[in-house]
């Protein structure tokens, strides 16, 4: 699992250099949804995913991405729900 942890890459989403260790845990402990797009040239990333994650986890990581405005509307709804629950 941690054999590639020190490999370095420029993360386009964050805008700085980081190590693979971050990419494989970015999504609440699961890999970042861009992990294959970023690493496909450098590591046997497909094999890595297959060996270390369940199929359901892989489906969850790569679930279809929504357009930006749609995801903002979803985050607003989620935030409203959370604030209503907060005392």
């Amino acid at each position: 699992m941690n054999q590639y942890d020190n490999e370095r890459i420029y993360c386009r989403r964050l805008g700085h250099w980081l190590t693979f260790n971050y990419c494989r845990q970015e999504n609440s402990g699961l890999p970042c949804r861009k992990i294959e797009d970023c690493w496909f040239e450098k590591l046997p990333i497909k094999k890595f995913l297959k060996e270390n994650y369940k199929e359901e986890e892989i489906s969850y990581i790569f679930k279809v991405q929504k357009p930006k405005l749609t995801s903002i509307v979803e985050l607003i709804e989620q935030a409203k729900k959370r604030s209503n629950k907060t005392p």
Partner: protein, 462 residues
């Protein structure tokens, strides 16, 4: 020979250009989670109504308020440079020009929209803006803008970036912003994550949730959220770059541009530079317009690997196009703007139409270009910007081979003085490229044989 063409403040463009008015195939309206079009009211908890109006506007020209211009004058109009030293070094007959957006106080194009957004929020009666940031390019631009406009600013900076990029955090704090590491104890979203994973390095996803929660849960309704790229109104505010460039090129004696180049992350500096020229192209001019991205993690030149995976495949046509060369454009995956996730829908549609021809480059070529640029023009550019410079050099060399006097314009979107790690690795010989082996590419191509071609919403004119 004139190296810099400057405009006086009185010559600054007084309107932004909205490409949505001229796109030959209109954008699909964005849909909400329930599948119905998103209404302005649904966005009202996070954006002020004046910006929501701009987001959906079909007006071609939108007046830039005097109040915004008065702030932009602090560094705008930005100079248009003739890259004479680079031309001489390359021995090219091409004339190369670049807009220098690195002269803004935070050092990039980002304050063009940060200032506009802060100003419109203030007009609407808002007191504080929230946002998320990684390395802090956007966070520092918003912190600067809020400081000048007179708004509070809260930046949720992804924990790993907060720890690794202390100088940008200090910039934000210097401009008076409250910059916290995300996940934080300040929101329910942050606390929930910290409870489960106290040592988490954070993510942009969590930081966005926190920034939106803070805006939504302000019971006084005085807090809103701000985004630095992708959305239509952000691209609109950036068009001042291309509009200034047009005036400056004319002043420099150029009446035709052949090639316009910009790097594209979310698409804002590219769109800002290129859209006024896309308008000319729509009206018959012959211009090659090139958004550039890295081969690693591309959004325009190759469909994401996510489309290889189960669930996704059921919902959208499967198009696993892996690294098919720099001028390959995959067919659209989804008519509703899903095609290039993370890329501005207006840029995506421009690619579908064939008005824009995206290109992907390996990092080594980009750093080489950045070094050449630094040693000729003197400016150390941002890592993103190096992609635009690398394609400029490719095109200048091509012009030399063809013996053509082409006019090339690119956007120098920012300086790289806060981002020297990549230069350090390059100079130490530690950067490598990993071209995808030919057999891998052939395997990928085989994988898509016989798959249905999705419908394209395009006119087919370009």
């Amino acid at each position: 020979m004139r190296i810099k063409t400057v405009l006086s403040e009185s010559e600054i463009p007084k309107q932004w250009y909205n490409l949505a008015a001229d796109l030959p195939s209109p954008l699909q309206p964005p849909l909400g989670p329930d599948g119905n079009p998103i209404s302005p009211e649904m966005l009202a908890p996070v954006f002020p109504m004046n910006l929501i109006e701009q987001e959906v506007s079909q007006e071609r020209w939108i007046d830039i308020p005097e109040g915004i211009l008065n702030i932009l004058y602090k560094w705008r109009p930005t100079p248009l440079h003739r890259a004479k030293a680079l031309e001489d070094y390359l021995g090219t007959p091409a004339r190369i020009y670049y807009k220098n957006e690195g002269v803004s106080p935070p050092g990039s194009h980002k304050p063009n929209t940060a200032v506009a957004q802060a100003w419109y929020n203030k007009e609407f009666g808002i007191k504080k803006l929230t946002t998320e940031t990684g390395a802090g390019q956007w966070g520092s631009a918003l912190a600067f803008a809020c400081s000048i406009v007179g708004l509070g600013c809260k930046v949720y900076m992804v924990r790993i970036s907060f720890d690794q990029k202390p100088y940008r955090k200090t910039m934000m704090q210097t401009w008076g912003a409250n910059c916290v590491a995300s996940p934080s104890e300040e929101t329910k979203a942050g606390r929930d994550i910290l409870e489960k994973m106290p040592d988490t390095p954070g993510s942009l996803g969590i930081a966005i949730s926190e920034a939106i929660e803070e805006a939504v849960s302000d019971t006084k309704g005085e807090t809103r959220y701000s985004l630095g790229s992708v959305l239509n109104h952000v691209l609109l505010h950036q068009t001042i770059i291309g509009l200034e460039a047009k005036k400056q090129l004319e002043k420099a004696g150029e009446n035709k541009v052949d090639i316009v180049i910009g790097c594209a992350g979310g698409g804002s500096n590219f769109a800002g530079t290129a859209f006024p020229f896309v308008n000319d192209k729509i009206h018959g001019e012959e211009i090659e317009i090139i958004p550039v991205e890295p081969t690693s993690c591309p959004t325009m030149t190759r469909a994401p690997f996510a489309y290889d995976h189960g669930d996704t495949a059921k919902m959208t046509p499967l198009l696993p196009m892996h690294s098919l060369g720099h001028d390959f454009i995959p067919p659209p995956i989804h008519a509703g703007g899903l095609r290039y996730h993370g890329m501005a829908p207006l840029v995506s549609q421009g690619i579908v139409e064939g008005l824009l021809t995206p290109r992907a480059l390996h990092q080594l070529e980009c750093y080489e270009a950045a070094i050449t640029f630094a040693r000729t023009e003197g400016i150390i550019c941002a890592p993103e910007t190096s992609h635009a410079i690398a394609v400029t050099i490719q095109e200048a060399k091509k012009a030399k081979e063809e013996g053509k006097e082409k006019v090339i314009l690119f956007n120098m979107s920012g300086h790289g003085l806060m981002d020297l790690t990549g230069y350090q690795s390059y100079l130490a010989g530690k950067l490598q490229d990993y071209p995808l082996p030919e057999e891998e590419m052939q395997k990928s191509l085989k994988g898509i044989e016989g798959l249905p071609k999705p419908k394209e919403a395009k006119t087919g004119k370009w």
